[in-house]
Amino acid sequence: MNKSVARALIPLGIFLVLAALLFYGLQLDPRKVPSPLVGKPAPEFQLESLKEPGQMLDRSVLLGKVSLVNVWASWCPSCRQEHGELMRIARQSGVQIIGYNWKDSREAGLLMLRQYGDPYSLSLFDPDNRAGIDWGIYGAPETFVVDAEGIIRHKHIGPVTPEVWERDLRPLVERYQSGS
């Protein structure tokens, strides 16, 4: 190729590289902020049970088996959207799902579980974000994978869909289930 033609193509090349980078950037969701808690022990907490008023639950509920900790609230439409998938996961995979009811009222939370079913083996109740800050929660829904030693292995932000379960959560759950 002629040298000057090659030189004239340089700006086009730079443009294409930039366009590719920007296009890639469009696919990223800025809401998905990586959690620094992944790989660290789940924080200590003292939270009331949603279903049994007065009963206090702490970090020990996470120990002994792999769990999904699902942050939800009745005011959150995406939580309703993922609810059916959580029901299916609870029924079919048998993994322990711990509900983390966040910034909600007990009546509204319990009503949602009565209406749409209850996938949670137990439910933590944090109406005023007391423990939520320690968990780094900043929206609902969020779902943590916690291994049998109580170490956070993954955080998913946004609703759990069948794809998310198959691609991100299930392989991790199975890996840590077989490891313990």
Partner: protein, 170 residues
Amino acid sequence: MRHLLQKSLHIKTCGLALAALLAMGNAEAYTLEEFSFEDPARFDEFHDLIGELRCLVCQNESLAASQAEVAQDLREEIYRLMQEGRSRDEVVDFLVSRYGDFVLYDPPLKASTLLLWFGPFLFVAAGGFVLFRTLQRRQAEPETELNEAERARLQQLLAGQGAPRESSDS
């Protein structure tokens, strides 16, 4: 319903914050009233701190500016920590260990942020190099000599006679 919208739709929350800001001119003063310190220096420190920390819900707002509920929770938490006598660095570490570097508007210098910090200098250096090379080449290029035909044409033009096609142009 309003409750629900405010909490669930982050974009709406940001919109509400903007509306509130427009409506009352200074939304920040409104939220700051509830945070009182005996020491005015500590209040200034608190004020600076929430201005430098980013709200994770309305991502382009600081904790000071955001009307999102999570931002209010965090303002209260920071206030509580400062009332306990924790230093500025301790408060920042507290938040970074839970929410990550993302809460900082001023990202720390470390291996993963090297490109962020020094990328612009790389671009300036690359641009400078190209400019330097271009100027150098231009200087090195010899003046091209006119051949006989061009010289004759030049004389013709200077003499004001012009080429025959020139008259047809006008």
